[in-house]
Amino acid sequence: MKLSNRTRPAVDADAVVKEALRQLDQPLRRQFLRRSLTLGGLSMLTGCAIVDDSSVDSALMAVSRLNDRVQGWLFDPNRLAPTYPESMITRPFPFNAYYEEDEIRQVDGESFRLEVTGRVADKHRWTLPELRALPQADQITRHICVEGWSAIGKWGGVPFSDFLRRVGADTSAKYVGFKCADDYSTSIDMATALHPQTLLTLSYDGQVLPPKYGFPMKLRMPTKLGYKNPKHIQAIFVTNNYPGGYWEDQGYNWFGGS
């Protein structure tokens, strides 16, 4: 930088500017280095807030949809999840929901009726004794939570594929959706609904399914993460329209399979 002769001769203009630039330069450089070492700095360098940007959000959602398709393709309808001996059951089996344990919903078993709608032939409402009269099966499998932890439990109930055939469900439909007494909802792919280990459970560890594990019934799928296993089920519907779900609408992967 070159200043003209009209500046006052008392100060060395060049030196002042150089010093100013140096002073300006150093904290800026430090700041730059410090920022470039952080993730926040990464986003500043690219000129956008990486986490809040809605275009990034929709791109991540698009990848999540792609991952649904990849998982559907990877899913082997005959591949069974591992089963375990009774001695390996996790005791106590952890409670988990989007609310705390003191907010567990109490459903009245006497007046309870299970609604079955959508692409099914038989839309009658099921009582609990009717469901308990159907052939039952049980399984000891690993429940894997989206948070990462896992626990082994024993569930008993009606194989869901038997139930779907009994109600004359259109098994070529894409989705089975669930609405629950605790205002939860979710939906699954038909291939998983028909998987031999997918169970409409009415009991836990030989006892009537207790409220904390989803009385009166829970859909148990050892091939899916915990949030895909709805508790307190009130209504089941078969549909070709993507139903989403409580967590899925907020960003959890829809397929959620393991």
Binding site: V51, L60, F75, R79, P82, G148, W149, S150, P222, S258
Partner: protein, 196 residues
């Protein structure tokens, strides 16, 4: 200054894409770990990515494709160009120990950046294998029912969680040493940008 290319363009491209993938995967992975830690600590949320578990999972399951696709391109070029065998072999434990001693005494020469010393060879081969282990253990965590053989090899679902975490810690350890070395020999940074 030498004018010969030390790092071909494909190598520099895959290196920097890998940096993006690893930073995103590690930072989002820490957030996922925090949801259910199996050690007695959590990562400070300020250095994690995703904002909440669902967001972190979205980042993680997006960046995994970049890591895998980019890693395959890297391996393909590396094997195809015979660079892998030319640069990383021969490699003997004795040479690693000798070069490590020399390095700790500050006597390891870095005048020719196109030549990897035994410690570099071992470290880079290690991080390749560690990344493969991260991908395989991640596959078990993602799809534990669909990959039974891999799941049992890694000690079941819970075993794979620990393997995935330890492999991450080793990768982060590698990156720390790698950055320190780059700081000590800044020419290597320029070479990874310009190729020379």
């Amino acid at each position: 200054m030498t004018t010969a290319t030390i790092h071909p363009l494909w190598l520099r491209a895959t290196h920097w894409l890998n940096v993006v993938a690893v930073v995103v995967l590690v930072a989002s992975g820490w957030r996922i770990y925090n949801a259910a830690p199996f050690f007695d600590f959590r990562f400070p949320s300020g250095i994690t990515l995703g904002g909440w578990l669902g967001g972190a999972l979205q980042w993680h399951f997006a960046a995994m494709w970049l890591l895998v696709a980019n890693g395959l391109v890297y391996l393909l070029f590396n094997v195809g160009s015979r660079r892998l065998f030319g640069k990383f072999f021969p490699l003997s434990p004795r040479a690693v120990v000798a070069d490590l001693k020399a390095a700790l005494k500050g006597k390891l020469a870095h005048d020719d950046l196109s030549h990897y010393n035994a410690v570099q060879r071992a470290a880079y081969l290690f991080v390749m294998l560690d990344t493969v282990l991260l991908v395989l253990s991640g596959l078990v965590l993602w799809k534990s029912v669909q990959f039974p053989l891999l799941r049992e090899l890694l000690g079941g679902y819970e075993g794979a969680r620990r393997v995935h975490f330890i492999a991450m810690a080793l990768l982060v350890g590698f990156v720390a040493v790698h950055l320190l070395m780059v700081a000590l020999v800044p020419r290597t940074f320029v070479a990874m940008l310009r190729g020379r």
